[in-house]
C-alpha cells in the first residue's frame, strides 16, 4: 500500500514530463454562487408556469406521473388515491416539519399506516424502524430542486429526510411547489456550488440524489423493466399555492 | 468557377493514381483522365509513383511510411493541383504527411501539398464547380461512404451531389451507408473472418436497396465489396464514382 507522499510523488514526476496536449481550461465558476442562485430563483418565480409545463413534459417522458393540487391540505387525498389504486397500505415519510404539512391524520383515517422518519439521530439505527422502512410500499418526500430540462427531482439527505424514503418503497411520491423549480442542469450546478460554498444546503446529509424517473434496467435482452431495486413508480404532486402563503 | 475560357490557361492537375488503382483498376484512372480533359483540365502523371504509404502507416511502420511520404512529396512538388481517386489516399496526404516529414522545410512543403490535394469528387464539385454529368449507367444505384472520406475528410456530400444529379439514375440511400465495409487494409487478411462478416452485413444492406450497383470513392472498399458480390454470384456491381460519369467514357 502506497503512502500519499509516494503516490503523489509518482504523479508529480509524470506531470513534470509534459505540458499537455493542448491549451485547455476548466469551467469558469460563479464568483458568488449563493447570490446567483437567489437571482435565478427570483427570475424563475416570474415564469414558473412555463417551467412547470416543461417539467411535466420531461417528467412524464421518463415515466413519472404529475398531479396538481391547490394547497398542501389537498395532498393527502391524492396520496390516498395513489395508495388505494395500488393496494398499498404502508407509508413512510419525511418528517412533517420538513415537509411543511402532515398527511398522517387523513391517511390513517383512510386505513394507511404512516410512519414519519424521526427528526434527530437519537433513534440510533433502530432495527424496528429499519423493518418498517423495508416493509413500506409508499415513500413520501419533499423536493429540493425540480429540474425541467430532464424531469429530475433532486433530494438532499439529512436528519428526518433519510435516503431510504425515496428508495426502498415501490412507490415514491414527492411533493413540491414553484419555489424549487429550475430550468436546467447548468442552474443545478449553480445551486450545488452555492450549497457547498457560500450558501446553505437544504440539509446537511451526506447524499444528494438526482432522481429521473423510476428505477429501471434493460440488462435482460434489452427489455425495459421498471422497479429493479428502487421504486417502480415516481409520482410528483405540485402544490400551486405560493410558498409561505 | 468553371473551366477556363478563352485566353486563360487551363487548370492543370497531377494525378496520384494510388497503388490499387494502378494495378487493379487502371480503366478507372483512364476514365478520370478523359473526364478531366473534357472538362478543360490538363492532366499529367508524375512518374515513379508507387503508393501513398497508408498500408505501412496503418500497420505501424511509421518510419517506412515516412520515407514513402517524403518521396511522394518531392514527386508532386511541382503539381498545381493533385487529384486522388481514393478517399483514404487523399486523407493520408492531407492529414498525415505533414507530421511524417523529417524536417521543417519538408513539413512546409507537405502542408502546402495537402492544401492543393483533392479527392476526385471534392475536386469536381468544389474546385471545378461541377455536379451535373452524363450517366454511364441506368437504374437504381446506392452509395457507400468510405471511412476515410467520410470521417477523415469530413465529406458526405460531394459524391451524393453528383450521384443525385445523374440523369436516368434513381439514387437511393443505403441503410448504414456510413458503416465500414470491413476492408481496413491489412485488417482484411489479418482477421479475414471478421472482415467478411462485416462485409456480409454491408452487402445485405446493399441488396436490400434493390440497387444494381453500389458506388464508392475508394479502391479498397471497392475491392472488398466487389470481392464479396462476385463470390456470391450477385449481379450487383461495385463501381467507382468515376465509372458512372458518362463524360469519362470513350
Amino acid at each position: 500500500m502506497s503512502t500519499r507522499a509516494e503516490f503523489m510523488g509518482r504523479l508529480r514526476a509524470e506531470l513534470a514530463k509534459t505540458s499537455g496536449l493542448f491549451p485547455a481550461a476548466v469551467s469558469e465558476r460563479p464568483a458568488a454562487p449563493a447570490a446567483l442562485a437567489d437571482t435565478i430563483r427570483r427570475e424563475l418565480s416570474e415564469r414558473w408556469p412555463a417551467t412547470l409545463e416543461r417539467f411535466r413534459s420531461e417528467f412524464e417522458r421518463v415515466g413519472g406521473v404529475l398531479y396538481r393540487v391547490p394547497a398542501h391540505a389537498d395532498v393527502a387525498a391524492v396520496v390516498a388515491r395513489i395508495a388505494r389504486e395500488r393496494d398499498a397500505r404502508r407509508l413512510i415519510s419525511w418528517h412533517p416539519a420538513l415537509l411543511g404539512f402532515d398527511v398522517a391524520p387523513s391517511l390513517r383515517a383512510a386505513n394507511i399506516d404512516v410512519t414519519a422518519m424521526p427528526r434527530s439521530a437519537d433513534a440510533e439505527d433502530d432495527p424496528r424502524l429499519r423493518d418498517v422502512v423495508a416493509a413500506a410500499d409508499l415513500g413520501l418526500t419533499g423536493v429540493d430542486l425540480a429540474v425541467a430540462e430532464t424531469g429530475t427531482l433532486v433530494l438532499v439527505s439529512g436528519g428526518g429526510r433519510p435516503r431510504s424514503t425515496s428508495l426502498l418503497p415501490a412507490y415514491h411520491v414527492a411533493v413540491f411547489d414553484r419555489s424549487v423549480l429550475v430550468e436546467s442542469l447548468a442552474q443545478v450546478g449553480v445551486f450545488l456550488e452555492a450549497w457547498h460554498g457560500d450558501g446553505h444546503p437544504p440539509a446537511d446529509g451526506g447524499a444528494i440524489n438526482f432522481i429521473t424517473g423510476p428505477s429501471r434496467t434493460a440488462d435482460i435482452e434489452l427489455t425495459l423493466t421498471r422497479g429493479v431495486h428502487g421504486p417502480r413508480e415516481v409520482h410528483a404532486i405540485f402544490v400551486e399555492a405560493a410558498p409561505g402563503g | 468557377m468553371t473551366a477556363a475560357g478563352a485566353g486563360s490557361r487551363s487548370p492543370r492537375v497531377s494525378l496520384l493514381i494510388t497503388c490499387l488503382g494502378d494495378m487493379f483498376y487502371p480503366e478507372v484512372g483512364v476514365g478520370i483522365v478523359r473526364l478531366l480533359r473534357r472538362l478543360g483540365v490538363s492532366v499529367d502523371f508524375p512518374k515513379g509513383q508507387t503508393c501513398c504509404g497508408l498500408p505501412l502507416f496503418n500497420s505501424g511502420y511509421r518510419a517506412e511510411a515516412a520515407a514513402v511520404a517524403t518521396r511522394t512529396v518531392r514527386l508532386f512538388r511541382d503539381a498545381e493541383s493533385v487529384v486522388v481517386p481514393s478517399g483514404s489516399c487523399a486523407w493520408m496526404v492531407k492529414h498525415e504527411y505533414p507530421g511524417l516529414m523529417p524536417d521543417a522545410a519538408l513539413r512546409d512543403e507537405a502542408t502546402a501539398l495537402a492544401g492543393r490535394t483533392h479527392e476526385l469528387s471534392q475536386f469536381l464539385v468544389h474546385v471545378l464547380g461541377r455536379t451535373e454529368f452524363e450517366s454511364a449507367v441506368k437504374g437504381r444505384i446506392t452509395y457507400h461512404d468510405s471511412c476515410h472520406l467520410l470521417r477523415g475528410l469530413h465529406e458526405a456530400e460531394t459524391p451524393r451531389a453528383i450521384l443525385r444529379a445523374l440523369k436516368g439514375v434513381e439514387f437511393v440511400e443505403l441503410a448504414g451507408a456510413d458503416e465500414c465495409c470491413g476492408f481496413g487494409g491489412s485488417f482484411s487478411v489479418r482477421l479475414p473472418e471478421v472482415s467478411t462478416s462485416i462485409l456480409d452485413r454491408k452487402l445485405a444492406s446493399v441488396e436490400a436497396t434493390g440497387a444494381r450497383c453500389v458506388v464508392a470513392c475508394d479502391a479498397g472498399c471497392l475491392m472488398q465489396m466487389s470481392g464479396g458480390l462476385s463470390r456470391r454470384g450477385s449481379s450487383v456491381r461495385a463501381l467507382h464514382l468515376a465509372e458512372l460519369l458518362g463524360d469519362a467514357a470513350t
Binding site: M1, M8, L11, E14, K17, T18, A24, S27, E28, R29, A121, D126, G158, L185, L192, A203, D204, G205, G206, A207, I208, N209, T212, G213, P214, R216, I220, T223, V228 | I17, D22, M23, F24, Y25, P26, E27, V33, S42, V43, F45, T50, F57, G60, A67, C147, R151, G152, C180, G184, G185, F187, V189, L191, V194, T196, M223, S226, G227, G228, R231
Partner: protein
C-alpha cells in the same frame, strides 16, 4: 498488472471466429448495438448544445490532467475533512489488498457491490471470497454474470450476450427457483433476492464515475438504484476509483452529466445520479458510518506523459463499443480482457503493457466510428496505430510479418523494381485467374480468397498505359 484469463490461451483470431459462429450472440449484438446507436443519435439530435459540450468536456479533462496533482490533493483533503479515509494503490494488487483489509478490519461477512469496472480490473471478488467476505454483485447484469461465473461482455450492459431463457435456467440452477423466462419476472426475482442482501450487508463497494475535488464528493451514475442502496444501507462504504476520474468542481460535473447518459443509453440523465460525501452527516440516522476512497493508479499515471494520455479522458460510456464494426461482430468476451471494444484495447495496453495487445491492436479496421461517437472525442484510431508502431518497434510482431512489410516498403522506394511487380504478378497469378477474377490463392493470400474474389492484376496497369494517354494533354 492483472492476471490473464484462461480465455487468453486461445489465440484472438480463434476467439473471434468462435463468436462469429454463436448465433444468439450475433443476434443479441446486432439488436443491442443498433438500439444503443439509435438512442444515442436521437438524444443528440434533440440536444443541439451537445457538440459544444463535448468539446467543453474534452477540454475540462485535459485541463484537469495538466494539474491533476492539485486536484487530487484537494479531493483527498476534502474527503478527510468530512471524516472519510483515502488510500493510495499503485497497482491492482495493492488496491485489492486494501479493500480486503478494510473489510476484514470492519469484520465484514458480506459485501454488496454496485457496478465498478475498476474492481473488475483487480479481480476483487475472488480475493474477498478468499478472505471470508461474500461479494454480491447487485447490478442486474453483473448479478447474472456473477451467478454464471462469467466476465462482463459490454461496459454498460454486461449480460447482453445472454438470452432470457439462459437467465431463467441460471436462476433455477443457482437460486433453486423456477421462474418463467420473462424479463419482468426475472427482474422481480433478482429484486427480492438482492433486497435481502442490501439490508444485511456489512459493506458496500462501488466505483465512481467522477470525484469532485472541490467538495470531496464522489458521483455514481446508475439506473437501477443499487448504487443508492449500496451507499446508504451498509455501515461501511468503500469506493474504488481510477485517479483520472477526478474533476475540479460541481460546475464541471454538470457538463459531464449532460453528455454521459446520452452517450451511453440515449437518456437525458440516468435514473439516479448520486452524489455522496464521506460517511453519514451529523443529523443522519442512515448512511455509512465509515467511508473509504481507494485511488487507483495501475498503469494510468504512466500515461500522463505517455502515448495513451487521451484515453485517460474515457467516461466508460460504451458508445465506442456500440458503433465498432469489430465489436458488433465478436462481442466483448472475445477481447479476453476486462475492457472490450475500441477503448478497451487502449485500456488493456495501459493496464497490461503493449505486448498484451499485439493482436488486439489489429482488431480494428481503423474506420473511425469510435472517435466520432466518443463524447470526449478521444482519437482512438490514432492511438491504435501508435500501439501497432510500438508492437513493431519492440519486435513483438512476428518476424515473418515484419519481413513482408519491410520488403514492401523497400519496393515502394524503388520505382524501377516496383514497375516489375505488375508483370511478375501477372505471371504468378495465371494459374489462379479466371478472366479478370481470381477465386483462389495459395498460402497467406488464401485468407482473402477463402471468402472473397480478388481482381486480377490488370493486363496493363495505369502506369503502363500512360504513354498513350500522355499525348492527349
Amino acid at each position: 498488472m492483472s492476471e490473464p484469463d484462461a480465455v487468453l490461451a486461445t489465440p484472438f483470431r480463434q476467439r473471434a471466429e468462435r463468436a462469429l459462429h454463436d448465433d444468439f450472440l450475433q443476434q443479441a449484438l446486432t439488436i443491442a448495438t443498433t438500439k444503443f446507436i439509435d438512442l444515442r443519435r436521437q438524444a443528440f439530435r434533440e440536444f443541439p448544445e451537445g457538440d459544444a459540450l463535448r468539446d467543453r468536456a474534452r477540454a475540462i479533462k485535459e485541463a484537469t490532467l495538466q494539474r491533476l496533482d492539485r486536484y487530487v490533493d484537494q479531493l483527498v483533503d476534502n474527503v478527510e475533512r468530512l471524516g472519510g479515509h483515502v488510500h493510495f494503490a499503485a497497482s491492482a494488487d495493492e488496491a485489492r489488498d486494501i479493500v480486503v483489509e478494510i473489510g476484514r478490519r470492519a469484520g465484514a461477512r458480506m459485501a454488496v457491490k454496485s457496478k465498478s469496472m475498476a474492481t473488475e480490473e483487480m479481480h476483487l471478488n475472488a480475493a474477498l471470497a478468499a478472505a471470508g467476505i461474500t461479494p454480491v454483485e447487485t447490478d442486474l447484469g453483473e448479478y447474472i454474470i456473477q451467478l454464471a461465473g462469467e466476465r462482463p461482455s459490454h461496459i454498460i450492459a454486461p449480460a447482453i450476450h445472454k438470452t432470457k431463457g439462459q437467465v431463467a435456467e441460471l436462476f433455477e440452477r443457482e437460486l433453486g427457483r423456477a421462474v418463467p423466462a420473462d424479463p419482468e419476472a426475472l427482474t422481480r426475482v433478482a429484486r427480492a433476492e438482492l433486497r435481502d442482501k442490501f439490508l444485511q450487508a456489512d459493506m458496500g463497494i462501488t466505483g465512481a464515475n467522477f470525484a469532485v475535488a472541490d467538495t470531496g464528493t464522489i458521483v455514481l451514475v446508475t439506473n437501477e438504484g443499487n448504487g443508492r442502496m449500496v451507499t446508504s444501507l451498509p455501515r461501511l462504504h468503500v469506493a474504488v476509483m481510477g485517479v483520472e476520474k477526478v474533476i475540479p468542481s460541481m460546475t464541471d460535473l454538470m457538463v459531464f452529466l449532460a453528455i454521459l447518459a446520452k452517450s451511453a443509453t440515449g437518456q437525458k440523465l440516468s435514473s439516479y445520479t448520486t452524489l455522496v460525501r464521506g460517511p453519514r452527516g451529523a443529523g443522519e440516522s442512515e448512511g455509512p458510518q465509515e467511508f473509504h476512497l481507494v485511488l487507483l493508479d495501475n498503469g494510468r499515471v504512466r500515461q500522463i506523459a505517455g502515448p495513451l494520455r487521451e484515453a485517460l479522458s474515457c467516461l466508460r460510456c460504451g458508445a465506442c463499443l456500440n458503433v465498432c464494426p469489430v465489436y458488433r461482430q465478436i462481442g466483448g468476451h472475445a477481447y479476453g480482457y476486462t475492457y472490450p471494444g475500441p477503448i478497451g484495447i487502449l485500456l488493456t495496453a495501459m493496464l497490461n503493457g503493449p505486448a498484451s495487445v499485439k493482436d488486439l491492436a489489429h482488431a480494428s479496421s481503423l474506420c473511425g466510428a469510435c472517435a466520432d461517437a466518443c463524447p470526449v472525442r478521444i482519437d482512438i484510431p490514432r492511438m491504435l496505430v501508435e500501439l501497432r508502431t510500438e508492437v513493431d518497434e519492440q519486435r513483438i510482431a512476428p518476424w515473418s510479418e515484419r519481413v513482408v512489410f519491410k520488403t514492401f516498403a523497400a519496393l515502394l522506394g524503388r520505382p524501377a523494381l516496383f514497375r516489375l511487380a505488375a508483370p511478375v504478378s501477372r505471371v504468378l497469378q495465371r494459374p489462379f485467374a479466371d478472366g479478370r477474377r481470381i477465386r483462389r490463392l495459395p498460402f497467406f493470400f488464401g485468407r482473402w480468397t477463402a471468402t472473397r474474389d480478388l481482381p486480377a492484376v490488370a493486363p496493363r496497369t495505369f502506369s503502363e498505359r500512360w504513354i498513350e494517354l500522355e499525348d492527349g494533354r
